[in-house]
Amino acid sequence: MDSEVLFLFLQQGIASGIVSGSVYALLALAIVMIFKTSEVPNFAQGEVFMVAAYAALFLIVFYGLPMWVVIPAALLFTVAGMMLFEAGILRRVKKALGEPVNLVIATLGLSFLLRGLVRQTGLGDTPRSFPSLVSTDPVQIGQAMLTRLDLAIVGTAVAVMAAVFLLFNFTRAGRAMRALGMNPKAAALVGIDIRRTHAFVWGLSGLVSAISALLIAPKILMTPEMGHVAILAFAAAIVGGFNSLPGAVLGGFIIGIAENLVGLFVSASAIVVTPFLAIMAVLVLRPQGLLGGRPQMRKV
C-alpha cells in the first residue's frame, strides 16, 4: 500500500468513524448516566433505541404524519416509557429484592418486551428504511467522502453532548443527578428528591437514546434486532470508563474510528472483533477505563 492510499484510507476511516462514533457515544452516554445513578447496566438500552425508531416509523407508515410531529412524538414516547419503567417496575423490584442482579434481569425483561411489542405491530417483519430529512448528497472533506446526512448526524450528536454536559454541570437538576450518583444517602439528607431524580435520569437517558436512533435510522436498514448496536455502546462505555460521562463520549468515538480503520486496513470481517480488542487493551492497560476515576472502595 503506497503512502498516498494509506493517507486517503486514514482520512476516510477517521471521518466515517466520527459519524458512527457519534451515535455510539450518545448511546454510551445514555447507558452511563443510568449506571452512575442507579448502578444498573441497562441491557434494554439498545431496544429502547430500536423502539424509538420504530415508534417514529409507525407514525409515518400508519398515520402519515409529518416529520415535525413524528420526531417530537417519538422522543416523548421514549422518555415517558423509560420513566414508566423506572417508576413502575424497577422501583418495585428494588424494594422487593434489592439485589443488583434482579434489577439487571428486569432490564433484560424490558428488552424482550420491547422486541415483542415491535414484532406485534407487523413493522418488524421485513427490514425497513427510514426517510431521511437531510439529503444524502456527497460532501468531500479533505480526501474523505461523507454525505450531508453524515454531517447532520455528527452536528446534532455533538450539540446533544454539549447540552448534556451543560445540564449536568451547570443546572440544579444536573447537580442533583451527580450528587445522587456520588452518594445517595448524602443526597437524600440534603433534600434531593431521590425518586424524582431517578425518574429524571431515566427519562433523559431515553431522550438521548431516541435522538441517536432517529439520527442513525436513515443510514441503516431497520430491523427489530438493530438494538444490538448497544453492544458497541457498552464497549465504548468500558473503554472510556463506566462511571465517566466524558469517557463515554471519548469511548464512542474511539470505537467508531477503530472499527472503520480496521475495516479499511485489515478486512471488513475483522470489524466485529475490534470493539472487543479495544476493551481488552483498555482493561489490561487501564482497568478503570480511559477517563474512569480510581476504583473506589465500597463500604458494605
Binding site: R172, R175, A176, R178, A179, M182, N183, K185, A186, A187, A188, L189, V190, G191, I192, D193, I194, R195, G293
Partner: protein, 238 residues
C-alpha cells in the same frame, strides 16, 4: 420551652431484626439533647428514622406538633430538620463550594444562601481556604466541619448530629463542640448522638440512654453525669 420534636413509641426494624422498640423522647426548642448508648444500641437508627431514611414500624414522630411519618426524606429537610450523618458522607468528587450549595438544594433565595456560606466560613474558617478544593481531599476533621456546614445550609430549625467526634483528635473534638455550642446559641436546636459521653453530657441539657433499641434511662445531663450507677451501667464508667 415548647416542644420542637417528639418521638412517641417509635419502633423500627431491619428485616426481622428489631432495631428500635417504643422509643419516646422529646426535644424542646432551643435545647441540646443528647442520645447516648453503646455501639449498635440504635442511636443512628433513631436519627435515620427521623430523617426518613429508615421506615418506622410503629409509633409517631411529631415535628412542631405535626406528624412527619408519611413524609419523604427531602420533605423532612424542607420542614426544617437537617442531619449531619456519621462517617464522612461528603460528595467526594465535588468541591467544597458545590457541597455547600447542595446543602441549600431546596432553597431558592440566592442572597440568603450566599449569606449562609459566609456564616459557615465564620464557624469554620478553614472551609474558606478549601473552598475550591475537592471534598474528598480534605482531612477527616475538615470533612466533619464541611458536613456540619452543609447541613446548616438548609437553615434547619433542628440539627441532628451523628457522632461528630468520631475519629477526631481530642483537641479537634473540643474545637468542634465549641462550634456546636455556638450554633445552638445562634438559635438552632440540636439532637446529638455521641459515644463520647463526657463531652456529650457536658454540652447538653438533657440526655437519653439507649440500650438494645430501648430507652433505658433519661434525665437532665448534669444529674446523669453525677449518677455513678448510671455511669457504670450504661456509659462505660467514664
Amino acid at each position: 420551652m415548647p416542644e420542637l420534636l417528639s418521638l412517641r413509641d417509635v419502633s423500627a426494624a431491619y428485616g426481622r431484626i428489631q432495631a428500635l422498640s417504643h422509643v419516646s423522647l422529646s426535644v424542646p426548642e432551643g435545647a441540646i439533647v443528647a442520645l447516648l448508648g453503646a455501639n449498635g444500641a440504635g442511636k443512628s437508627t433513631t436519627l435515620n428514622v427521623i430523617s426518613r431514611l429508615v421506615p418506622q414500624s410503629g409509633g409517631e414522630i411529631l415535628f412542631r406538633g405535626a406528624s412527619i411519618a408519611a413524609r419523604a426524606s427531602h420533605e423532612v429537610v424542607r420542614a426544617g430538620i437537617a442531619q449531619v450523618p456519621e462517617g464522612r458522607e461528603v460528595f467526594r468528587e465535588m468541591s467544597v463550594r458545590e457541597n455547600l450549595e447542595l446543602g441549600a438544594h431546596l432553597r431558592r433565595d440566592a442572597r440568603g444562601v450566599a449569606e449562609d456560606v459566609e456564616r459557615a466560613f465564620a464557624y469554620f474558617p478553614v472551609l474558606r481556604e478549601r473552598y475550591r478544593q475537592r471534598a474528598g481531599t480534605l482531612s477527616g476533621g475538615e470533612q466533619q466541619m464541611l458536613l456540619i456546614a452543609r447541613a446548616l445550609m438548609a437553615r434547619p430549625a433542628l440539627l441532628l448530629l451523628d457522632e461528630p467526634s468520631l475519629g477526631l483528635s481530642p483537641l479537634l473534638v473540643q474545637q468542634i463542640f465549641g462550634i456546636i455550642r455556638r450554633i445552638n446559641e445562634d438559635g438552632t436546636t440540636i439532637l446529638l448522638v455521641e459515644q463520647n459521653v463526657g463531652v456529650a453530657l457536658g454540652c447538653s441539657s438533657y440526655a437519653y440512654i439507649l440500650e438494645n433499641g430501648e430507652i433505658a434511662h433519661h434525665g437532665p445531663s448534669a444529674s446523669l453525669a453525677a449518677d455513678g450507677a448510671v455511669q457504670n451501667a450504661y456509659l462505660g464508667g467514664h
